[in-house]
């Protein structure tokens, strides 16, 4: 039983780290633009398809395909923002959230229209797991884990050291004060959406690498992403990472405790518990 528990823990940490990438994108957009962008699931799907096309049609190696997934999704995210969400800015966060949800549906169906429902696989060999006694870890899992960590490190460096990154954090901390200091809100919003959507695209591709690509890749993640962001505290960057890892582990451990068919309950229970007991989430101060 201890082995099963530890194995589920390993699987959960890896799954959670990959989930953290799109959760970071979601929470970054929330922090700066103050609305939950529910197109994040469809954007993850865009990234999965972009990476797949780069890998199979253009023969790109993984890191280059990941960069392409980031770029393509950044563009798609900006399109969603400018076409669907921005015109409704004055109507409030709820309307913007609904607009993003609708834009996500459009994106998902555009992909379905273009690529069909067929499952797509990356041009990669599938390797057997490494075994360490009773435990096992997959080479692909480790690679995805490393790529997810690298993406998070890059984001951290960007937010910490670049002028734009600092401007983003300033707007997230205190919008009015940041504007008084001469931060350009339009530019900051655009960069945030591009980076947030790009991260979602990378997350979508990382999940696609481990599974396969179809128009519902991102849709299947949206609840977990949202639960991770809420748990960590909406708008909190370290919170999104911690929340995602906690959700990943909880989902895997739940398999041992309950019938796996009830996995979805985990996400909902976490959202319910956080909103009831600590609405600000683990790391957030904004929601309270």
């Amino acid at each position: 039983m201890i082995e099963a528990l530890l194995q589920a823990l390993i699987n959960g940490v890896i799954a959670g780290t990959i989930l953290a990438v799109p959760a970071l994108g979601f929470t970054a957009i929330f922090a700066v633009l103050n609305y939950p962008n529910f197109a994040i699931g469809a954007l993850a799907t865009v990234g999965a398809y972009a990476g797949w096309a780069g890998n199979t049609a253009l023969g790109l190696p993984m890191v280059a395909a990941l960069a392409l997934a980031f770029a393509a999704t950044a563009v798609a995210g900006l399109a969603v923002q400018w076409v669907a969400v921005k015109p409704l800015e004055s109507a409030g966060a709820l309307m913007m959230a609904i607009a993003s949800l609708a834009a996500g549906l459009v994106l998902e169906n555009a992909l379905r229209f273009t690529f069909g429902n067929d499952l797509r696989g990356y041009d990669l060999p599938l390797l057997r797991d490494w075994r360490f006694g009773e435990f096992r870890v997959g080479p692909q899992q480790v690679q995805n884990f490393a790529l997810a960590l690298a993406a998070m490190a890059l984001l951290w460096a960007f937010l910490r050291y670049s002028r734009t990154g600092r401007a983003m954090r300033a707007v997230a901390d205190n919008r009015d004060l940041a504007l008084l200091r001469g931060v350009d809100p339009v530019r900051v919003a655009a960069v945030t959406v591009a980076v947030g959507a790009g991260l979602a695209g990378m997350g979508g591709m990382l999940i696609g690498l481990d599974t396969s690509v179809d128009p519902l890749v991102g849709n299947r993640l949206i609840l977990s992403i949202f639960a991770a962001a809420v748990l960590g505290g909406l708008g909190s960057i370290p919170g999104a990472v911690a929340g995602a890892i906690a959700i990943g582990v909880a989902e895997e451990l739940a398999v041992l405790a309950f019938n796996p068919a009830y996995r979805l309950v985990v996400g909902f229970v976490v959202i319910l518990a956080v909103l009831t007991l600590r609405p600000a989430g683990l790391f957030g101060a904004r929601a309270s």
Partner: protein, 395 residues
């Protein structure tokens, strides 16, 4: 005189309003609906199925329609999702006023749509397999061309034994057929001294590693995969990664050529598949090959081809183009002897000439029990070898 005229007009108007829907439905074109999964897990099958029906309808319309009336087809998407299926069925029933809905694929969708059909006197023809479907109180408003899970489960159980396996695990998402499939696999396996366990997983999970670990801890010598294509793809990758060397058995609708092409050969090599077999070599099957533009049409396209042919002939034989007409007459054209026909155009011609017809289809003989199940079906045993499905036998 004026009073009489007014009274006549009133009576005429009132009787027009009071005329049963049936009379009005008997004028103008006949409307029929397909409700197939154009998207979702059934997405690879639904579009081909809808096109198959359209081809038959076009042929019949070109040959003069059903007793002189043209047939209009309305195709909707159930998204392999019960909630979307109900919405689409409501539209077909309330807005398009179709006489029949054909082709519901996933058992969960059929289970949700069936009550709407029998309550609105719309005939339902499905390709879903769950036992529970024909056990619904449908009162004759439903038939299915797919063998039920009692039969399929028994065949799977017998095949597990034939493959020499004794310790089996059935891994499947929660569907209306999961439980009855395992229940019916059990007797042949237990009779051979073996055992079978069930693990239900969440089909939307991107990784099933922990579930696979749990199954492998029981050290099975065969894993039977009971899901649809997207989740079975995830499952197969994780089973491969875990280093499982035992046997794998799956439904052919999930481990299909499209899935095999999307996975490395190492992962799919040796998987056994089982499926209700279309009636290969029959003239009806050849017609479906031509319509679908492939030498290997899937079982569901064959089945829906049979459904539309039966529906059109049932309407003609009863001279009643409503759901009621189909319900009351479908067994008069599907069984009981008469001119053997394999398509509606020939059947309609024979019916117009006053002859009895007995339809033999592309999916099989298409004879139905009172509950709506087919009475006979062959199965197709295949194995994946070198990235291709190789036929072992049809029996």
């Amino acid at each position: 005189m004026i009073i009489t005229t007014r009274r006549t007009a009133l009576i005429a108007g009132a009787s027009l309003l009071a005329a049963p829907g049936l009379v009005r439905a008997q004028e103008g074109p006949i409307r029929l609906g397909t409700l197939t999964p154009l998207t979702g897990a059934g997405g690879p099958y639904g579009p081909v199925m809808a096109n198959g029906v359209r081809a038959v309808v076009n042929e019949v319309n070109a040959a003069g329609g059903v007793r002189g009336r043209q047939v209009q087809l309305v195709s909707e998407d159930d998204q392999t999702n019960p909630e979307a299926g109900v919405r689409a069925a409501r539209k077909l029933i309330d807005v398009d006023r179709v006489a029949t809905i054909m082709g519901t694929w996933a058992s969960a969708v059929t289970t949700a749509v069936a009550p709407l059909c029998w309550e609105s006197r719309t005939f339902l023809a499905t390709v879903s397999g769950a036992d529970s479907i024909t056990a619904l109180p449908h009162n004759g408003w439903l038939i299915r061309t797919q063998p039920n899970t009692t039969l399929q489960g028994r065949k799977f159980g017998e095949y597990v034994v034939e493959l020499g396996a004794r310790k089996a695990v059935f891994m499947a998402p929660q569907t209306p057929f999961t439980q009855s499939q395992v229940t019916n696999m059990k007797p042949p396996i237990e009779a051979a001294g073996g055992s079978i366990d069930l693990l239900i997983y969440d089909a939307t999970k991107p990784s099933l590693r922990t579930e696979v670990d749990q199954v492998l801890r029981a050290r099975p010598d065969i894993i039977v995969l009971g899901g649809y294509t997207p989740d079975t793809t995830v499952l197969l990758r994780d089973i491969f990664r875990a280093g499982f060397r035992g046997k794998l058995l799956a439904y052919a609708y999930s481990v299909n050529q499209q899935m095999i092409s999307s996975l490395p050969n190492d992962v799919t090599e040796g998987i056994h598949t089982l499926a209700p077999s279309p009636a290969e070599g029959t003239s009806a099957f050849d017609r479906v090959k031509r319509i679908a533009g492939t030498d290997n049409p899937d079982p569901y396209t064959c089945q829906i081809y049979d459904q539309i042919n039966l529906v059109l002939m049932a309407m003609a034989v009863g001279n009643d183009a409503t759901g009621q007409g189909i319900r009351d007459n479908i067994r008069k054209v599907s069984q009981g002897g008469g001119d053997r026909v394999d398509n509606a155009v020939d059947g309609l011609r024979a019916i117009a000439a006053g002859r009895k017809v007995d339809y033999d289809g592309a999916s099989g003989p298409c004879d139905f029990t009172d509950a709506g199940d087919i009475t006979d079906c062959k199965f197709r045993y295949e194995q994946v070898r070198g990235g291709r499905q190789v036929l072992i036998r049809i029996a």
